[in-house]
């Protein structure tokens, strides 16, 4: 009788210890002070209205899509891997242009300009290669392209300049940092450019702002503030990309807390298009373009797709 009692006690103790040790595995025992917490900023995204809705998503048969551009109401061009895909306004593939190297950025008008690390190559919309422009040197690292009138502008992260070319690829000049103490800062390769009737809009991501330049390189207005709040830009280098809307407003994208936002023409925050809830925390770099109808095309490299956002009519 006594022996049986000991066995029972031993059994219970053994089972309890085994269960305790097993449950301890991977339990949440990490002090709060060790955890990086940005939940309040994610939460803030859920408190604002989302006037834009994702109305379509175009899957891309690309391993590493890099950049997107659109020609007004014409074709959309996506580059990635070693190919440029020409798509129609519904996302159907019209043409596939094989490229000799990894593309980095793209712009499109009547010509498709593809930026590689150190040079630009021009293609017709029919896919014919038209011209390969001269190399910009070993230090070059092109990250963005914009077309203004009959000129092409290219941001070069490696040399911290914006190159200015005519349509044939002849270099007309370069835009350098406005000043050493208040000039370009790029901790990472996030240096984009867009253009409209007011000139060039250059992302100075290390200073978390957007700067206006004339084609000749004169700096004009600036907007954007450094903040984790929704109306500001956070992280080492945001915004990462920019596009101008047909009515003069801006669309920006950010990394870290992935966000797509609209700013008024004077740079005041207008709307959140999509945040980390919609895009997922691992969205990575998001290139952006806007077509003539005001549709926002976001290249989601992690999802290998283009997300189309359209403004919804205001019910109120």
């Amino acid at each position: 009788m006594k022996t049986r009692g000991i066995w029972i006690v031993l059994t219970l103790v053994a089972v309890a210890v085994v269960i305790f040790l097993s449950l301890r595995r991977g339990g949440p025992r990490v002090p709060q002070a060790y955890l990086y917490d940005v939940e309040q900023y994610r939460e803030a995204e859920t408190q604002v209205p989302l006037p834009y809705k994702e109305t379509a998503r175009w899957p891309l048969a690309l391993r590493e899509p890099r950049a997107v551009a659109v020609k007004g109401d014409g074709p959309v061009v996506v580059v990635g891997d070693r190919v440029a895909l020409v798509l129609d306004a519904a996302g159907e593939e019209l043409r596939r242009i094989e490229l000799a190297d990894e593309p980095r950025c793209v712009a499109v008008a009547d010509v498709v300009y593809v930026g590689f690390l150190d040079r630009i190559v021009a293609y017709g919309l029919d896919g014919e290669k038209q011209a390969e422009w001269e190399t910009l040197g070993e230090q070059a690292y092109l990250t963005g392209l914009a077309i203004l009138g009959d000129e092409v502008f290219a941001t070069d992260y490696g040399q911290r300049v914006v190159w200015r070319f005519d349509a044939e690829g002849k270099m007309r000049g370069r835009i350098r940092s406005a000043s050493k103490s208040d000039g370009f800062v790029f901790p990472s390769p996030t240096f984009d450019v867009a253009a409209d009737g007011d000139g060039l809009w250059v992302v100075n991501s290390g200073r978390r702002r957007v700067e206006q330049y004339s084609p000749q390189g004169k700096r004009g207005t600036m907007w954007g503030r450094s903040s984790m709040e929704l109306d500001g830009f956070s992280g080492c280098c945001n915004p990462t990309h920019i596009a101008v809307m047909p009515d003069g407003r801006f669309v920006t994208t950010e990394k870290g807390l992935p966000r797509v936002k609209v700013y008024a023409a004077d740079g005041t925050f207008a709307a959140l298009v999509a945040g980390s809830v919609q895009l997922g925390q691992d969205a990575g770099l998001l290139d952006v373009a806007v077509d003539a109808a005001g549709r926002i095309l976001v290249l989601d490299a992690a999802d290998r797709s283009i997300r189309i956002y359209e403004e919804q009519p205001d019910d109120g």
Partner: protein, 214 residues
């Protein structure tokens, strides 16, 4: 004794036997777990190894491999700081300076939302103040890790990876690691980031080998 009695007795004996086997099984597995844990803390070569005929091939004395964590898999859960058998974890923050943006607003250094970019303690995210920030030229700063203060919590790694260039990352520091048979962090790492690597390639560094230590 009737047939019935005999049957009942043998069934009782059978049950008792099964019970005993079960209990012994439980005790054995408990002993196994505890031994594993004890071994995890005491595998250094010591005087007891002297004269051991198996010394040459013994991987406790000359381990052919060591524990290391893959920064690409790590999800910065914080358990590297809490789960090492050492009082202060053998996992430390490493910094590949060549990848660093030398940002004035460093998200590996400042608490998210810090209003003033000064080195005041309340602005720093490192719970032990292990990151040193030095001015280079406007607007660039350099960041170094005070190895002795770092506890491997990965908080800075998370901020740097999320908002910066990911130049901060964790590594098992082999000057400190006991190379336990069963690494107590590896057992619980939710990302399965730990692996055995050859001693000759004991670190999984970011960049092309330009890691500059701490």
């Amino acid at each position: 004794m009737t047939d019935n009695d005999q049957k009942q007795t043998s069934r009782r004996e059978m049950l008792r036997l099964v019970g005993r086997v079960g209990v012994l099984g439980c005790l054995a597995s408990l002993a196994g777990m505890l031994t594993g844990r004890l071994r995890a803390g005491c595998i250094e070569a010591g005087p007891a190894c002297k004269g051991c005929p198996d010394q040459d091939g013994c991987d406790l004395v000359t381990p052919p491999t060591v524990w290391q964590l893959d920064p690409a898999k790590c999800t910065q859960c914080g358990q590297c700081a809490t789960d090492c058998v050492l009082a202060q974890s053998a996992v430390r923050c490493f910094h590949t300076h060549a990848l660093c943006g030398h940002c004035k607003l460093c998200f590996g250094y400042f608490e998210p939302g810090a209003r003033v970019l000064s080195s005041a303690a309340e602005n720093q995210l490192c719970p032990t103040g292990a990151i040193q920030r030095r001015f280079v030229e406007d607007p660039y700063y350099t960041y170094t890790i005070e190895k002795d203060l770092c506890i491997g919590c990965a908080k800075c790694v998370h901020g740097c990876g999320m908002f910066g260039n990911g130049s901060l990352y964790l590594q098992v520091d082999h000057e400190l690691c006991k190379n336990c048979n069963e690494c107590s962090i590896a057992r619980r790492c939710p990302a399965n980031a730990f692996e055995r690597v050859p001693v000759s390639e004991a670190y999984l560094l970011k960049g092309q080998g330009e890691e500059e230590g701490h």
